[in-house]
Symmetry: C2
Subunit: 319 residues, 2 copies
């Protein structure tokens, strides 16, 4: 549901004249990615995704995102590879917006991840972290804990419209996390948004990781807890400890977690839950004008946040 910008055939021709990809066979607007306009482009030279970056992605961050995908793809990570034009560039303009072509990846996202999907995902995250180690780009996490007070404030005190007492609960949680947030865990480039719709599988093998537009530098284990929240809870709000264990053990099989990281998992999970609670709350209270995407229910993340708040150690995650 995410095509915002229409691409006329004649403007497409001008854009594609910068590449050596043969002639156009078809262009279909696809319902993928919430933030941008995406098209599936079939050329005689292959199949690609054409992305027009809409205003929610900061133009100055695009070299980081495209550079990262290029870096990861050359190290064997199954992610979209930005395609270079004859001028060597991956980023140019189309319809007045920054635009790029990336390679198309086969695979399906899974609606109800099973344990084997969680295990494969864990390993894929560790591989991504490994492959990004020598990436030179740097981008601060714009949605990390230091952003939480601003996000809560942007909701304009209306949180209680969604659940009575929510504003106060968020306030208390922010204060607690400011105290408890780790200072010295292993850092690196994280994806930061690896929800099930951003991971493609062929059977239970990960065939693609997409949508790197929240990637940033942060604690590596935080990335894992974002996934624990989005992959390992059942619809009723209970953590599936078998899936949680599979995810984390899948990760550790490729990159061991230090004892400091293990001890920090509950607080990282709380921070990850609060981040999505806050952004969903904001989108719920202040839906974007003309948005074609229905805001997601923030309360799903309140339930997850409360779960992690009562966790005493990593054993709650099956470790």
């Amino acid at each position: 549901m995410a095509v915002y910008t229409d691409v006329p055939d004649e403007e497409l021709d001008v854009f594609l004249s910068a590449y050596d990809l043969g002639s156009v066979l078809s262009l279909k607007g696809i319902a993928e990615g919430v933030e941008n306009s995406n098209y599936l482009l079939r050329m005689t030279g292959g199949t690609f995704i054409l992305t027009l970056y809409e205003k929610r992605v900061a133009a100055e961050d695009l070299p980081f995102f495209l550079g990262l995908m290029d870096h990861l793809a050359t190290r064997g990570i199954a992610c979209p590879t930005p395609v270079k034009g004859r001028d060597g560039k991956t980023l140019r303009a189309l319809r007045g917006r920054p635009a790029a072509l990336v390679t198309f990846l086969d695979g399906l996202s899974v609606r109800k991840p099973r344990t084997e999907h969680c295990a494969a995902l864990g390993t894929a995250i560790a591989s991504l972290h490994d492959a990004a180690r020598d990436f030179a780009g740097q981008r601060a996490n714009a949605l990390g804990p230091s952003s939480f007070r601003g996000l809560a404030g942007a909701c304009g005190g209306e949180a209680d419209r969604v659940a009575p007492g929510l504003a106060r609960e968020i306030e208390t949680e922010i204060a607690a996390l400011e105290q408890a947030w780790p200072k010295t865990l292993p850092q690196g480039v994280i994806h930061a948004d690896l929800f099930p719709d951003n991971v493609f599988f062929i059977q239970s093998r990960v065939s693609g990781l997409i949508d790197f537009y929240f990637a940033c530098n942060d604690f590596l284990a935080y990335d894992l807890m974002i996934c624990l929240n989005s992959w390992c809870f059942e619809e009723g709000g209970q953590l599936n400890i078998t899936k949680a264990r599979a995810l984390i053990e899948g990760y550790r099989a490729k990159r061991p977690l230090s004892s400091a990281e293990l001890a920090a998992l509950p607080v990282l999970a709380r921070g990850a839950a609060l981040r999505f609670l806050l952004t969903r709350l904001y989108d719920w209270l202040k839906p974007a004008e003309g948005a074609l995407v229905k805001p997601k229910n923030p309360l799903e993340y309140l339930i997850k946040l409360r779960f992690h708040r009562h966790v005493t150690g990593p054993s709650a995650y099956g470790l």
Copy 2:
């Protein structure tokens, strides 16, 4: 902008088990067709469009539409071919909706058709009419002149909200068309909705005609006038007589028009303009709940209607 119904991977697997098309490579919701949910489905056995029919398409009409596409495709018309399952059937259920797979067609729709596109389209329409001659299915035109009073009534007297005097102008036009509408022109199966987004081209060759969900039995020349309205007017509202001539001559090169048909072109063009004026007016005044498609401006068709009302004969179309 037209994916309404989500297809979970596990339900897709069940659906596809009825076919011999190999295994799934990818499924992307595409922004094509206003009435249905459409997905581009890549299988090891080929690329297809998966359509879930939403409530605006009457389920009892689907055998006509799918039967017609099958009939036309076997006669060499570049239209989607419904794919048969191992049971020989093309229509089955997915997510509680009628659903079908059709072949994928290459090509791009043109935003600003040029004269050569209009000429190629004219010939393609005549070929479609020819190929459908021995099609046994029958479907009345639910949006023909006999529907106009009902459509106008459904707008609930609110037409003047869109343009002062519009309700009265529509009323007068309906009465005039009831008098002037032809009774005995050559009939057959028409597409009835061949707007530029339903026609694919590779360069200036027609590579695909899609979206047969308004097809019905009606005057053949009426189909041509629907296209004249949607392909041959400039953005300012003027008829481009060069394009009109190219369209009609392209048609006549393949199927001659009788003198009765030629004489009837202006009144058919008025009827075609009024049909889209009325349905757009209705969608404008009564937008469908949850619709993701912005209603189109009805006044574009009022301008076309007025043009044809003052036409004295087919010479106005360059003949």
